[in-house]
């Protein structure tokens, strides 16, 4: 099994059930882009380096996620619309334990 199923709520509030491969080194931001769930310009601006907050997501399920790194934490400290559930999508790699992950894309800044 090299796919996981993820539920993504887009910026318009629409729920999408998507399938993400675990063997292509993808992250949540790239999955959102690959399914075109947000226009490319306003998401993933820095390309996935935790240097912008355009891929901020709210993690609404209880999955164990990779620990937040310094760069991500610093970027979220300057981002807008941040909640306790906020993460940068680009910093969450797609792995098999993300099966059933539920996320909502944060509003565009």
């Amino acid at each position: 099994m090299s796919d996981v199923k993820i539920k993504i709520t887009d910026r318009q509030g629409k729920l999408h059930n998507v399938v993400a491969p675990i063997d292509m080194a993808m992250n949540v931001m790239e999955v959102i882009r690959s399914y075109e769930l947000a226009p490319e310009g306003p998401i993933g601006v820095c390309g996935g380096m935790a240097m912008c907050a355009s891929c901020q997501c709210y993690i609404t399920s209880t999955h164990e996620l990779p620990i937040m790194g310094d760069e991500e934490e610093a970027m979220l400290s300057e981002a807008f619309n941040v909640t306790e559930k906020s993460r940068l999508g680009c910093q969450i790699s797609i792995t098999k334990n993300l099966e059933g992950l539920e996320i909502t894309i944060a509003p565009e800044e």
Binding site: G41, M49, A74, F80
Partner: protein
């Protein structure tokens, strides 16, 4: 008024390489960029990050790539209008484009190449009620003239290098600086963090963390801000509030130029990367077409093909052929010449 053959909007890697390719065809370029330095994202967002997919460079830092592109195009003497955003475009009956910046600088050329990457970098604005009302009435996102802050009460918000560096600078010209940040830690160079700490110990900077500005007050101009810390709100009288939360790219005025836009990018014909307006081309990350990949190396290719059509617009009917730099060398507009040393041929059996 600045005249050239090609106006290039965007001085990132693709804009700089366009100067080189145009130069080989004896076309002069002038670049406009909203940022104060050339390099685009490579110098603004990730100058210290290595890039691994530039042909022949197994690894190169983004800042170093910018420097090498500047060096490569230097002999073609590009002009620069930096720190200004291309605002308006007009085409006259002779086919000449006039591009005017937000500061009123006028540029004229027969060809316009938009190499704007993700758009122009604009300050990220905090989401506060009425903040737009106070812009230039006490709220500034970019410090243009530091002298106006001398002996004034300033609140700076942000936790990165620019918030730290400007706090230091303004404290040193006797501004009464309060630095507000949502976290206790700052994300800046060690040197800046230590300087801010020293100034705090000398009571020259007031630091409030973890805290944020939640409200702006004032009748006709900004008079005070409300700072929330540990859910307690306090009012602070200020002359200026300077939020420094970095920059984010916006397509900006280009989106009103009548260009066909799709997915936040400019649609082009892959024959020569021309837009729906003849004479205006779009190269690099700002364009879109079936199969588009936003890669620097693809932008280099697009810029090269674009210049062939630009030549035909600027020199109608005039012949030219593809030249190999290995064969003909390069004649710079500055009078320099680069060429391979001539090999010496001698007969062995004389």
């Amino acid at each position: 008024m600045i005249k050239s053959d090609i106006i290039i909007i965007g001085a990132g890697p693709i804009g700089l390489f366009t100067v080189f390719e145009a130069g080989l065809l004896k076309l002069r370029c002038h670049l406009i960029d909203a940022l104060p330095q050339p390099g685009g994202q490579c110098s603004e967002i990730y100058p210290k990050k290595p890039i691994y997919d530039i042909p022949a460079y197994p690894e190169i830092l983004a800042g170093e790539l910018t420097n090498k592109l500047l060096e490569q195009c230097k002999q073609f003497q590009p002009g620069f209008t930096l720190g200004e955003r291309a605002e308006e475009i007009k085409k006259d009956d002779d086919g000449v484009f006039t591009v005017t910046t937000n500061k009123g600088t006028i540029h004229k050329a027969l060809v316009v190449a938009i190499a704007g990457g993700l758009g122009s970098f604009e300050p990220r604005k905090p989401q506060l009620d009425n903040i737009s009302f106070y812009e230039d009435k006490g709220v500034e996102y970019i410090i243009k003239d530091p002298e106006i802050y001398r002996n004034k009460k300033i609140v700076i918000a942000g936790g990165g290098d620019s918030a730290l560096d400007w706090s230091i600078f303004l404290a040193n010209i006797n501004a009464d600086v309060t630095l507000v940040h949502r976290r206790n830690e700052f994300r800046g160079t060690l040197d800046s963090v230590e300087k801010v700490r020293d100034l705090k110990n000398q009571n020259k900077i007031n630091i409030i963390t973890p805290a944020e500005i939640v409200k702006l007050n004032g009748e006709e101009k900004l008079e005070s801000v409300i700072i929330s810390k540990d859910n307690v709100k306090n009012e602070l009288k200020v002359d200026h509030f300077i939020p420094l939360f970095g920059l984010s790219p916006k397509l900006g005025p280009i989106s009103n130029w009548g260009l066909a836009i799709e997915k936040n990018a400019i649609k082009v014909d892959t024959y020569d990367y021309q837009t729906n307006i003849p004479g205006i081309f779009a190269v690099g990350d700002i364009n879109t077409y079936p199969g588009k990949l936003k890669l620097i190396l693809c932008g280099f290719h697009e810029a090269t093909l674009m210049c062939q059509s630009a030549y035909k617009i600027i020199n109608p009917g005039k012949k030219h052929v593809l030249k190999y730099t290995t064969v003909t060398g390069i004649d710079g507009f500055d009078g320099t010449r680069k060429e391979a040393p001539k090999s010496v041929v001698q007969a062995i059996n004389k």
